[in-house]
């Protein structure tokens, strides 16, 4: 049994459908991303030269926070309504549904963040040379963030207010991603080769795709065993 619900794609489709049913909630990271970036010119300086200097870092930090915002709820509703337990006792490898859920999470947060980032780039006077590297690095980087964040979300799923603990667990692991992500944008603006940092991000993503689902599956089993 559980044939239809078994695999990777079934979980992607179900989570996308659920996100579509709760559009307001699903859109909150993007709205957060857009709103906060309007504050930067007001709070820092409307001077485009100063903004341009800060833009790569600011965009990356905000993308990171927006992802973190939605990570906490990744397994929360499944844990509460019992579907997590059902997932754990399906006769198949747990990494597939886990990877499906993380993919759906990226499609709902990371991908839209990547797509709206040029708008933020214009708002923060990001030099045009940085736009393509920014989108490329965000696409790879937010996928890393979703995978790493999911490990933290799995570990803290049984806690009532795991939000702070989740940030403490996950932010140190986010650091390499943000370093190479903003470095690739900065290199492009400075006229240097930006493929290097981007390739490192790609390598991190490859490692995360292999390792994180195992860690998430292990964490979920650990949590359910209590």
């Amino acid at each position: 049994m559980m044939g239809a619900s078994g695999g990777f794609s079934a979980y992607v489709r179900r989570d996308l459908l659920l996100a579509y049913r709760r559009r307001g909630e699903a859109a909150s990271p993007i709205i957060f991303f857009l709103l906060v970036s309007t504050l930067i010119p007001l709070g820092v300086s409307p001077d485009s030269a100063r903004l341009a200097e800060l833009a790569p870092g600011i965009i990356w930090v905000m993308a990171l926070l927006a992802t973190l915002l939605s990570t906490e709820s990744l397994f929360a509703s499944d844990y509460q309504d019992g579907s997590l337990e059902q997932m754990l006792i399906t006769p198949q490898l747990l990494v597939l549904p886990v990877l499906g859920k993380v993919t759906a999470h990226w499609l709902v947060t990371g991908l839209p963040l990547t797509l709206v980032s040029p708008v933020i780039g214009v708002m923060l006077s990001l030099p045009t040379a940085g736009t393509v590297p920014m989108m490329a690095s965000l696409a790879l980087g937010t996928a890393c963030l979703s995978l790493i964040g999911a490990v933290g979300a799995a570990l803290t799923v049984s806690l009532r207010k795991g939000g702070l603990l989740l940030s403490v667990l996950v932010i140190p692991l986010y650091m390499p991603v943000i370093i190479f992500g903003s470095a690739s944008v900065q290199s492009a603006i400075d006229g240097l080769n930006w493929f290097g940092p981007l390739a490192v991000l790609g390598a991190m993503l490859s490692a995360a795709i292999v390792l994180c689902p195992l860690a998430i599956a292990g964490a979920l089993r650990l949590v359910s065993n209590n």
């Binding site: 049994m1 559980m2 239809a4 049913r21 309504d81 019992g82 006792i89 006769p91 065993n225």
Partner: protein, 232 residues
């Protein structure tokens, strides 16, 4: 690898020597579970044969749900063994999980999905659309199949979860308090399904405080372990 190699012919011999009816569907031997260094219940020994309906009884907090979760392998036991058709469930995990259905307190119904979508999700891939509609109508959910689940009552939620019984191909059903919030007609309809399942060679393990109107029910009482009394 050598261990695997030795196991394969032995398993085949077992099947050849003993025909299926003599092999118990489920054998639980001295099963114990410790939480915070404290035994939850007295060691459990039970056998479930094909055609059995086994009612787990016990006071609140005696460990009925814990037992259910142990039997479905959602929890790992501290000691003792659970064997499915004579083989430890750790060894035949995938075969075992493919043959069981578990409906717990939290049934896994998604609030954002409709009853039909929920049942589709939780049923085998081969289930047809007509089967799904039929299963829901049988449990009095006709007219509710396409409304979101968050607009349903508690009893109707339970019915959505229990509609899985009609589409499931599992041999052993584990039902934890299946009748919570279900009205009298609903209980009757579900009891009938349990009986049909048992008559077709399946088995049902359920925990409930209600007396079932079935004459074939066996009862098993579990008691909280003395350890836990001492703590309180």
């Amino acid at each position: 690898m050598p261990i695997l190699w030795h196991n394969v012919p032995r398993k085949n011999n077992q099947i050849a020597e003993k025909s299926l009816p003599t092999e118990s569907l489920l054998t639980v031997d001295e099963l114990a579970y410790e939480r915070d260094d404290c035994n939850v219940f007295n060691p459990i020994n039970l056998v479930v044969e094909a055609g059995d309906i086994l009612q787990i009884e016990g006071a609140n907090g005696a460990g009925k749900t814990t037992l259910m979760r142990l039997l479905t392998s959602a929890l790992q036991q501290t000691s003792g063994s659970i064997a499915y058709q004579g083989q430890s469930i750790a060894q035949c995990r995938y075969e075992y999980l493919a043959d069981i259905l578990y409906i717990g307190h939290q049934s896994g119904t998604k609030m954002g999905l409709s009853p039909a979508e929920n049942l589709r999700w939780m049923s085998p891939a081969s289930t047809s659309k007509a089967d799904i509609t039929h299963a829901l109508e049988n449990l009095g959910l006709a007219g509710y199949t396409d409304v979101p689940c968050y607009s349903l009552s508690a009893g109707q939620h339970r019915r959505v979860a229990l509609a899985r019984l009609a589409t499931s191909q599992a041999k052993i059903w584990y039902l934890d308090e299946p009748f919570t919030a279900i009205d009298k007609q609903g209980v009757k309809a579900i009891e009938k399904q349990l009986q049909n399942h048992a008559e077709q060679g399946g088995a049902v393990v359920l925990s409930t405080h209600q007396d079932l109107a079935l004459d074939t029910v066996r009862k098993y009482s579990i008691e909280a372990h003395a350890d836990r009394g001492a703590l309180q």
